[in-house]
Assembly symmetry: C2
Homo-oligomer: 427 residues x 2
Amino acid sequence: MPIELLIFAAVANLAPMPSLSERGRHTPFSPFRKLAPLADKAKASGVKVYHLNIGQPDILTPPVAMQQLSARLEPILAYSPAEGNMSLRQKMVDYYARYDVRVTPEEIMVMTGASEALQLSLFACFNPGEEVLVPEPFYANYNGFAHIAQVRIKPLSCQIEAGFALPPVAAFADAIGPRTRGILLCNPNNPTGAVYAPETLGALGTLARQRDLFLIVDEVYREFCYDGATFVSALSLPDLADQVVVIDSVSKRYSACGARIGAVVTRNAALREVLGRYARLRLSPPGLGQWLTEIMLEDDMAYLQEVKAEYNRRRGMVYERLAQMEGVTSYLPGGAFYCFARFPIDDAERFCRWLLEDFSHEGATVMLSPGPGFYATPGRGRDEVRMAFVLDCTHLAHAMDCLEKALEIYPGRQLPLSTSIACSGAE
Amino acid sequence: MPIELLIFAAVANLAPMPSLSERGRHTPFSPFRKLAPLADKAKASGVKVYHLNIGQPDILTPPVAMQQLSARLEPILAYSPAEGNMSLRQKMVDYYARYDVRVTPEEIMVMTGASEALQLSLFACFNPGEEVLVPEPFYANYNGFAHIAQVRIKPLSCQIEAGFALPPVAAFADAIGPRTRGILLCNPNNPTGAVYAPETLGALGTLARQRDLFLIVDEVYREFCYDGATFVSALSLPDLADQVVVIDSVSKRYSACGARIGAVVTRNAALREVLGRYARLRLSPPGLGQWLTEIMLEDDMAYLQEVKAEYNRRRGMVYERLAQMEGVTSYLPGGAFYCFARFPIDDAERFCRWLLEDFSHEGATVMLSPGPGFYATPGRGRDEVRMAFVLDCTHLAHAMDCLEKALEIYPGRQLPLSTSIACSGAE
């Protein structure tokens, strides 16, 4: 065969091969991991990389619970009920009661992480082509879950100048179209750290009831509300039994991301019936993770208090350091363990790549999550990044040194039109 | 309000309530658990229920592995890589080598059970409205996975008189239509126990290559092939790198259904890239289950041998007992731990309900899975049931006593046109 044909054959992939699905090829990349190969390269060349890019806490999983796990193992690691072990759901009932949420074990369905909880909720609540209102920036994987469910995310803009507070309820009302069937919030918010006030949630609840919308609230950062703010769960709002769907997870709370234990909590029995069909298809949530979660729930007060205090220290440090960096717009996040800041840069993707490929300060650099992945509106977030406070204060201080230096010398540095301001992230 | 209006309001559910999705309400029930409330009632009334209805083994999860788990726990139960821990995938490479399957760790993607492995494979391989050929009867939850992926199952009939051997390859070829994009097999088969011969698999592989189809093979019962039959994995067929997708799980092999650890194994790099996007959205497979699986893989030969011998004993007993029951059509299954038998009954659903509601023998009854749930063709399987050998021989003997008695006195008893025959389940 002449060389041209050989090349053509190679390029055109003439070997028989079944084609993949269109939907598969259009499934969004998770923006959290696409810079990973660059980080690996940086590490291979001897640079220390401070990972502020992913919400994987450095905090220990409750050590006592891990030690007690072996004593709780049953001799057969069997399928649990599809909706989770009853003993676990009973302990979850007590946990929610701490937040004035009165639910029965039947109203709790254990899921394989908040990811499955949200994915199945989207399937059960919405038809393909229907729409859900989501304030942006939002947790980047919502885009992927919506893609799989063929649900359209209709974004509502939050502003950094307002600490990413929710838009007024009128803006949600105005955004409701003929195909709008729900509102999806994350409270406390990933990626912004904003904590939503009870009145705002209540008003959105009323809107949901009036307009027959589901109000889906991802509350996985519930434990991390600072400055004395009291967390208010959507489940404690009155008269919304059929509207409210709460997404939960133990991943962040107990620094147990690998447990893959989450939950859907809803008083809507018809919704639970449909969720149950999906849940039975995948048979059961992870058994070992369920056993561990039961133990973690038994004696967690001191642990949670300590972890919250630690994140609070980090939050204060990041806030103060960012406030001192010229051209950076930031705010004091009211909850979670993220800050979503505006940098004096041309392009966040380019800056994050540059940090990993072309920059180091005293042998180290930082890995951040570029802003655009957290938006559905094209073009937004281009000069923004998310930082997760998942390093202890010593390492976090080094990471902030790196960041400060990097912003000074980044070739694409450009001051934004608005100057640095600081305001509270809590509404 | 007059009483009529009150009743109307209650019936019409006038309280505002967002409606659920159509797709959710059309998601099939898992046929394995819908008789569960009747079984609970029977137990509450003091009747012992022998569960032959679900593939939840009674065998212990490898006790040594369970004991060693606590020594393997890392202090932070973190997200694993989306495709699973590299150390686990390396051990899986060695495991597959036992079956003459040479794969690299990169060709193995750890999944949350075979359920997720198959669900994501359907998403990645097929577009909505496309079609996959599946010999029936098949594992009932395939219907649900296909529903979620909007993929159509086109069933090909297998016959009990042939021990549910695969139809000739020509039947597969004839069934290929313009939207047909794959073939899905389970080998050894759930629910029939049939084991497919290498030549048959090879011929289907050739067909897949010629017609650009994916050949997806669920091999979770691989360890359980009897009568000296050698299991042949689709991964060991030559020249099918891009076609073959193997679905795996440790649930049955190690009696660890609650671990929720499965895998997709494929040499198709483009497919893995798309599967990786889906996998990253759900972040990671369960961490504790991955650690346990690593330990289980380290020293499993004696365990697997013993478990296989035990299932083999049970298989022989069920076969012999069924052969003695008048009007029952059965066969000796070549693999797995199921038998799919034809009973002299009017309706399998009715019979299974009657067993739980109106029958007991010496204080006990049996729970079976009705046949129709394992078919896509309406009307098929009406006089068939699946039995899982998940009780020890003593209990299994009692269960067979119950079944024999029940078939004698069941009010809907009717002899089928064909009489009892026995033949080998292996092709």
